[in-house]
């Protein structure tokens, strides 16, 4: 990176000061606190506590329920990521192809991006309502008694469905812009070489979209793990019960509902390590992407 620069002693410090001070107070300090309190068992009021070393972590790994929640989080993340990517891609390919109404379709397929996850959760609650929710009735028509909040798998299905709905638009937007940035010459050449449109897609278009897809993969995993909090909290109506939940929701349940600061902090640290691994992976991919282009 060669760039003509100003050299001024105090100016950059001044410019960076707001950002860096906010980051120190509201990022590094809390992150450090999370690490620290994961080694303690503390009275929520702050009167007493015991240093317990790694006990909070061992407790988690020995807890069958924590492993079960991890497994659900995995299934949830895979399903949400896969289906929202697939639907986003499908709609993007079609919207790129049609001539009539292209911009209308584009608008209609992307606006849900602006819907807040808990709002999506409320829509989900009403569609999957016990007894007379529309989708509940649809299931009843096919002979399955769908009961959200009772049946673990039904509840899991509803959470996944709503989370997918919320995530399709962003994938659609990225895929569509990826498709539209494919140079015309390549498209035309492909048209001539390959008559079958599905083969053309898999041999030419899809590889060109791969960098976008990689980027979206990480974005979607992050979404499924963290940003679905609102969907889950609203759809479970703050009653964990025997319902499925994600690891992020569990951090909240133990820390805020249960007052178990140490256990909740240990879970936070585990999530931090997970995200860290994911981001390093992402940075390496981006680096390679730069080599590609």
């Amino acid at each position: 990176m060669k760039r003509a620069s100003f050299s001024n002693l105090w100016m950059p410090v001044l410019l960076l000061l707001p950002q860096v001070s906010i980051i120190f107070v509201f990022f590094y300090w809390p992150a450090f606190e999370a690490l620290k309190s994961s080694f303690y068992l503390q009275d929520p009021f702050g009167f007493s506590g015991t240093f317990v070393g790694l006990d909070n972590y061992f407790t988690l790994f020995q807890n069958a329920e924590y492993l079960r929640i991890s497994l659900f989080t995995l299934v949830f993340t895979v399903c949400v990521t896969f289906f929202s990517l697939a639907l986003g891609l499908l709609f993007a390919v079609k919207a790129d192809k049609v001539i009539r109404g292209a911009s209308t379709y584009k608008t209609l397929l992307m606006w849900v991006y602006a819907v807040a996850p808990p709002v999506a959760g409320i829509l989900g609650v009403s569609l999957f309502y016990q007894g007379h929710g529309l989708i509940t009735q649809l299931f009843a028509f096919f002979g399955h008694e769908f009961v959200i909040g009772v049946n673990y798998y039904d509840t899991g299905f509803a959470l996944i469905a709503v989370s997918i709905w919320k995530q399709v638009p962003i994938n659609f937007i990225f895929f569509l812009s990826g498709l539209q940035s494919v140079p015309r010459s390549i498209r035309e050449a492909a048209m001539i070489d390959n008559r079958s449109s599905s083969r053309r897609f898999w041999t030419i278009t899809f590889p060109l979209l791969a960098p976008t897809a990689f980027f979206l993969l990480i974005t979607n995993i992050t979404y499924a793990m963290f940003d679905t909090f609102g969907v889950i909290d609203v759809m479970l109506r703050s009653e964990p019960g025997n319902n499925p939940m994600t690891l992020t929701y569990k951090v909240y349940v133990d820390g805020f509902r249960g007052g178990d600061l140490g256990g909740s902090s240990a879970q936070s640290v585990i999530l931090m390590i997970l995200v860290l691994a994911l981001t390093i992976f992402q940075f390496r991919l981006i680096e390679r992407r730069i080599h590609y282009t």
Binding site: F47, G149, S238, G241, R257, G259
Partner: protein, 433 residues
């Protein structure tokens, strides 16, 4: 807000500002939503109108869990209210944190308010007390689980409300099912079918004197009586004699209100709301017991919540809090609260007043809760005290749900509850040391 209201408010503000110099303001955080919250507001404004020295402001803080979390956080930030409402499951956390609250007994004595624990009805005396029997939290909205029933349904089926679970299983439920009803639902498995299962049958719930004594308590849950109860519950559900709509309270109450379910186990505090919503005749009776477990059923625990006076406030404010507690426990206020909401009156005097007023002759169902709390006491009926109990309840809810949906067996579920609860209790003990 209309202009007139605005002007009125402004006028009121200037009027108050002239008298405000002598007034002590205190705040009260609570978790009473809906109609209950309106009654709380009424108590507060009546108190404010009754004298000129103190002014209390009630603030709604969401669910019980949220109110407790908000209270703890505010305490750490030094911005806590004078009075915090804490529900039964949170009692151990608050009572365990000794510097966080002023025991209500001390508060009242120090501020010249007469206090005698025997003024309170038997069932509520020791639930929020410490191991020595000193009252720490002031019992406020006290309820107990009772059995509501749709009178029309029972009549149609030709049965009466069951006294024992044996009677329910053999006579009541089959007849109700025959008559086209779902015989029973309940709204809170840990509260109704666990904690109060132990007190109703006078069984020990936890070691160390149900958790009141020092040391690490262990829960006594993996025991034959309660396992038999849940085995029966699962059989009833499979036979269509019992239905479960999930962990949510309202989801299980709703079908009763709609007349689909004949018998509903809920809180005595639900009485006020039911009376407003339901258009059929209903009544209530004591929580059934297993004759096979005991021939002498005992009283149940109180549920609901109590008020804690938080520490770190000025003497004047503490005095105001004490005055408010005195007002709150006066027979008239308790009777009003009891009548409006269905929660039990916490003092003997208020109960006497309600009887004298003929309230129970006109609605006998309103007396069921307090009658149940006045039943003979047993060794294990004064309460329980376990830390991280919110999480222990979450574990119970989870495992009970799995039993009822057939995902796990009763044996495995109770073994899991025992293991996880004891781990939580051991962890809680370390937070206190």
């Amino acid at each position: 807000m209309s202009l007139r209201k605005l002007l009125a408010a402004g006028l009121a503000a200037t009027m108050f500002s002239t008298t405000a110099f002598a007034e002590t303001n205190i705040t009260w955080w609570h978790a009473m939503g809906g109609q209950l919250g309106e009654t709380v507001n009424k108590i507060a404004s009546d108190f404010n109108a009754s004298q000129d020295d103190y002014k209390i402001t009630p603030v709604f803080k969401g669910t019980y869990e949220e109110a407790l979390t908000a209270g703890i956080a505010s305490f750490r930030a030094g911005e806590h209210p004078n009075i915090l409402q804490v529900f039964d499951a949170g009692a151990a956390t608050v009572i365990g944190a000794k510097g966080a609250t002023i025991p209500v007994e001390d508060l009242l004595n120090e501020n010249g308010v007469n206090f005698d624990i025997n003024d309170y009805i038997a069932g509520v005396r020791y639930f929020y007390a410490d191991a020595d029997g000193k009252m720490i939290g002031m019992p406020f909205n006290s309820s107990t689980p009772i059995m509501y029933f749709n009178e029309e349904a029972l009549e149609k089926a030709g049965v009466s409300a069951p006294k024992t679970w044996e009677e329910f299983a053999e006579t009541t439920a089959p007849a109700l099912k025959e008559a086209g009803y779902i015989p029973m639902t309940q709204s809170h498995l840990p509260w109704i079918f666990t904690e109060n299962f132990f007190s109703r049958h006078n069984l020990q719930f936890a070691t160390n004197n149900n958790g009141y004594d020092e040391g690490v308590a262990e829960i006594n849950i993996n025991t034959p009586e309660i396992k038999a109860h849940f085995t029966a519950l699962k059989e009833w559900k499979d036979a269509g004699l019992f239905e479960w709509y999930g962990t949510g309270w309202g989801d299980n109450q709703k079908p009763f209100e709609e007349g689909k379910v004949a018998v509903w186990l809920g809180s005595s505090g639900s009485f006020g709301g039911l009376k407003e919503k339901v258009d059929f005749k209903f009544s209530a009776t004591l929580l059934p017991y297993w004759e096979g477990v005991t021939k002498e059923p005992t009283q149940t625990f109180i549920g609901g919540a109590s008020l804690f006076a938080m520490a770190g406030k000025s003497a004047e404010e503490n005095k105001a809090t004490a005055e408010f507690f005195q007002y709150l426990t006066s027979p008239e206020v308790q009777y009003m609260w009891h009548k409006e909401t269905g929660y039990v009156p916490v003092t003997e005097a208020a109960y006497e007043l309600a009887k004298k007023d003929g309230y129970y002759e006109e609605s006998p169902a309103a007396e069921v809760g307090i009658q149940q709390l006045q039943l003979p006491a047993g060794e294990w009926t004064k309460g329980y005290r376990m830390g991280f109990y919110v999480q222990i309840r979450d574990v119970m809810n989870r495992e009970y749900g799995r039993i009822l949906t057939g995902e796990t067996s009763v044996e495995d579920a109770f073994a899991t509850i025992e293991k996880e609860s004891n781990a939580l209790l051991a962890r809680f003990a370390k937070t206190q040391g």
